[in-house]
Symmetry: C2
Subunit: 434 residues, 2 copies
C-alpha cells in the first residue's frame, strides 16, 4: 500500500520513555494512521503521495498537554508575581467578568492552538466556560483535544445563574459528543472550594451518564487544604473520595499538597493526576512529590495550565522545569529521570487523554500524531542522548507537526490557522485589558 | 553626526530593571557606542549608514551570562541525572582528561559563542583550562567576554603538573591583558576543596598584581560545607574570608549554601555572587536564598554554568527558572519580581562583569550591546508587560544582535561564525565521547 505521507532519513525516537534512537528511520502514514515506523532499509522503496525529508531532524510523537484554559492567552502577563487567592479574586475573575465572550474565547483559543502546535503539542485537555467556542477553535486548528465545560457555583461566562451550571454542561456534551473524532467533550468542575458537594455529585453523575472525563483542580494550595479541613473532611482528596467522585475518569489537576494517604487513594481509585509545575512555582502554590506518586502507582501526566499563570504553553519548558525542580525538591539528582519525564509528556499523557487507541508511540496502527525537530542548532549539538529533549530543546525547535495524519505545521508555517488575523484580533481585544 | 547603525520604529526597553517601554523608539549607534536611545520623534530625521527596521521587534540591552565553561558543550547531555561528586569524578573529569586539547577548546567554545549569540547573550564570563583558546574563539566571534584561566591542584589540560598552575595563569594574563577591548583576562580558582590555601592565596596575589577578577566555585553543595568544616573553618565563605581573599574583585559562584553570616561577609567585602539556578537544580545541589541575599545588599548576577550541567546556555531560560524557583523556595510569589531578575541578567550583570563603562542600559554614551526580539509570535501575544521576557520569551525569539556596535547576528543569521563548519567539527569530536 502506498503511504499518504512518508518521512524519510530521520533520527527517530519512536517511544520517548525508552530512549532508543533509530539513526536512519522513516515513518509512513496512511489516512490518520501510522503504517510503518522504523529503520529506512526495512521499509524498502515503496512510494508515497508526499515525502517529507527528515534529514537533520528528529521525529518523535507529539506532546500531550493535559491542562489548560485556552482563552486565558488574553490575560498572559496581566498580573504576574501574585498569590493564587489575590491573583484569582482581584485580577483574573474581574478580568474574566469584563472580557470573556464567545468571540474572545474563539480567537484567544485559536491563539493558544497556534502556540501549542508551533511548540509541538498535538493533544491537549482544556477546561473553561463557553467551552463550545474552544472546541470550535481547536477543531478548526486540527488539534486533538479534550474540551471540558466549566462548572462553578458562581456566575460564569455563558452561565449567569450558577444553578444552571450542570444543565449548561449537559447541553455542551449533547452538542459535541460524537461530532468530531479529534474533539472529545468532558466536564471541568473548578475545585472543591468553589463547587458545593451537590454540584460535584451532579457533575459526576452527568459525567458517568455520558461516559466522559471530569477534570477538577484539587489540593493546589496550602490555603485550600485549610479551607477544606474544617467543614468538609481531612483533605480535599479524601473529601472527593467520600463524595464517591474518584474513579479512572476523574482527573485530579495539581495535587501539589497530596499527602501519603491521598496518593494511596488516587492510586487505589485509578484517578490520574496532572501536574502543572510551572504554574505551581509561579503562584508559589508548592510542589508535588512526584517520585512518591510514581512509586505508589499513581498515573501522572503534565500540563502547562493557562498561560496567565505560566506564562507560556511550551511543553518542552514544562518538562525541563518539572525534571529539574523535582531534583531540588527531593535533593536527589535522579529523582525522576529525563526519559520518565518524556514518557509523561507523550505515552502516559496520550493514555490519560482517553482517546481510543492513542498510545503516544510511533508504531504501525497508531494515530499519526508526529513532530519533527530541527537538530541543526548549536544548543542541540552534540546530540548524545534524547535527554536533551528535556534539558535543552524548546518548542521553537519544532518545524513540522502532523496530527491524525494531517499536516498542520510545515517548516514552521501554520497550515490550519490564519496567524496574522489571530494575532491582530487578540491584540485588539488586549487593548481594553489593563 | 550621522549614525553608523539606526534601529527604527521599535518597542524599546532601555533599562530592563525599570520596565518602562517606549512604544515607537529608536537607537542610534556610532562606532561601538550608543549616541541616542529614546522616542523616534525626538531623534528627528538624521541619516544613518545602516538602518535596521525595528517594527514588530523589541529592542533591549544584551544579556550577561556570568558563569560558564564554554568547551564543555562537547559534554552536553553526556552524563545527566547524577550527583555532583559522581558526575565530576566518574564522568566529567575522565572525559576532560581524554578529550580536552587546544583544538577541542577552540571549536567547542565557538559552538558556545554561537549558542549564546543566537539566544541574546552579548557579555559572558568563562572559566576553563587552555583558556587562551576560549579567548581566541570569543574574540573571533565578537563576543564581549571575561576569560578566566583555571587553577586547580590536580593535573589539568595544558598544566600537567599542578605546581605550575599559577605560573600558567600568569602567562595567560600576560598574553591577553590589553590585547582586545572585548576580552578581559581573569583567573578561575576551581574551588576551596580542590585548591590548597597556598594556591588560593597565590592566585589572589596574582589577580591583585594584574588587577583582574578571580572567580571561584564556593558553597555549592552540602558535601562541600561538610568537607570544609572539619579541617578548615566554619564555612567555605568564612574560610575564604580568613585567607584574605574576598574583595570586590573576587566573584563567588553558586553560594547555594551561603548562610546568614556568609551573606553578611559577602556584602561587607563587596564580593559579587553569581547564581546558576538551573545547574544547582540539575545536580540537586540546593538553592540559594536570593531574596535574603538581595536584602543584605549582596550584588548578584546570573550564569548558566557549563552546558554539561544545564544543558543549555539560554539566559532567557535561566531567568525564568530563577524567578519561578525562588517563589517555590520561599513559598512567596513575590519573592523576586520579574524586573529584578531582568536587571540581574542585564544591568547588574554588566556592572559585575567589570568592563569599564558597561552599564547594561541603552542610553547615549553606553557601549552598543543590543538585542532585538521578534514579538510577532503567539507566545509573546499580547505583550502586556516586559515580565514576559522572563516568563514566556526564549533565546530563539532573538533575531538580531549587536555587540560593541558590530552586527554579529542579523535576522537569525550568524555573521561572525561559520556555523556549519563549527557544528561539523564538534560532531566529529563527539563521536569519540560516549
Amino acid at each position: 500500500m502506498d503511504a499518504d505521507i512518508l518521512i524519510t532519513n530521520t533520527l527517530l525516537l519512536p517511544d520517548p520513555g525508552n530512549s532508543t534512537l533509530i539513526q536512519s528511520g522513516c515513518v509512513a502514514i496512511d489516512g490518520g494512521t501510522i503504517i510503518y515506523a522504523g529503520p529506512m532499509e526495512q521499509y524498502g522503496d515503496r512510494r508515497a503521495k508526499r515525502v517529507l525529508d527528515g534529514r537533520g531532524m528528529l521525529t518523535m510523537p507529539g506532546l500531550v498537554n493535559l491542562h489548560g484554559h485556552a482563552p486565558m492567552t488574553l490575560f498572559r502577563g496581566l498580573a504576574d508575581d501574585l498569590e493564587l487567592a489575590d491573583w484569582l479574586s482581584n485580577h483574573i475573575f474581574p478580568a474574566e467578568a469584563d472580557h470573556v465572550n464567545p468571540e474572545m474565547v474563539y480567537w484567544c483559543s485559536t491563539l493558544a492552538a497556534a502556540e501549542m502546535i508551533l511548540s509541538g503539542t498535538t493533544t491537549t485537555a482544556d477546561g473553561y466556560f463557553l467551552e463550545t467556542e474552544v472546541a470550535h477553535a481547536y477543531a478548526d486548528a486540527g488539534l486533538r483535544a479534550v474540551a471540558a465545560q466549566g462548572i462553578i457555583d458562581f456566575p460564569a461566562p455563558g452561565v449567569p445563574d450558577p444553578k444552571d451550571n450542570v444543565e449548561a454542561a449537559a447541553s455542551f456534551l449533547d452538542a459535541w459528543q460524537g461530532k468530531n473524532p479529534l474533539i472529545k467533550p468532558a466536564l471541568f468542575a473548578h475545585s472543591p472550594y468553589t463547587c458545593a458537594n451537590t454540584t460535584l455529585q451532579r457533575a459526576k453523575d452527568l459525567a458517568r451518564e455520558y461516559n466522559v472525563q471530569l477534570y477538577i483542580h484539587v489540593a493546589e494550595t496550602e490555603q485550600e487544604i485549610a479551607m477544606i479541613k474544617e467543614p468538609l473532611g481531612p483533605t480535599p482528596i479524601q473529601h472527593l473520595q467520600a463524595l464517591g467522585i474518584l474513579d479512572t475518569q476523574t482527573i485530579c489537576v495539581h495535587c501539589t499538597w497530596a499527602d501519603d494517604n491521598d496518593m494511596d487513594i488516587l492510586a487505589g481509585q485509578g484517578s490520574p493526576v496532572i501536574l502543572c509545575p510551572q504554574s505551581n512555582l509561579k503562584l508559589a502554590s508548592g510542589m508535588a512529590d512526584l517520585p512518591l506518586m510514581l512509586a505508589k502507582g499513581v498515573r501522572v501526566g503534565l500540563g502547562t495550565d493557562g498561560c496567565a499563570s505560566n506564562n507560556s504553553l511550551d511543553m518542552f519548558r514544562e518538562m525541563d522545569v518539572c525534571a529539574k525542580v523535582q531534583k531540588l525538591h527531593k535533593l536527589d539528582p535522579v529523582a525522576v529521570p529525563a526519559k520518565k519525564i518524556l514518557a509523561m509528556a507523550t505515552t502516559d499523557g496520550a493514555f490519560l487523554s482517553g482517546f481510543p487507541g492513542h498510545t503516544g508511540v510511533l508504531a504501525a496502527g497508531q494515530p499519526a500524531d508526529i513532530i519533527l525537530l530541527d537538530l541543526q542548532q548549536p544548543h542541540l549539538t552534540p546530540f548524545h542522548t534524547s535527554d536533551l529533549l528535556v534539558y535543552a530543546a524548546g518548542g521553537s525547535d519544532v518545524r513540522t507537526v502532523i496530527i491524525n495524519g494531517r499536516l498542520v505545521l510545515e517548516q514552521g508555517r501554520l497550515l490550519t490557522i490564519n496567524i496574522k488575523e489571530t494575532l491582530n484580533r487578540v491584540r485588539a481585544m488586549a487593548i481594553a485589558v489593563q
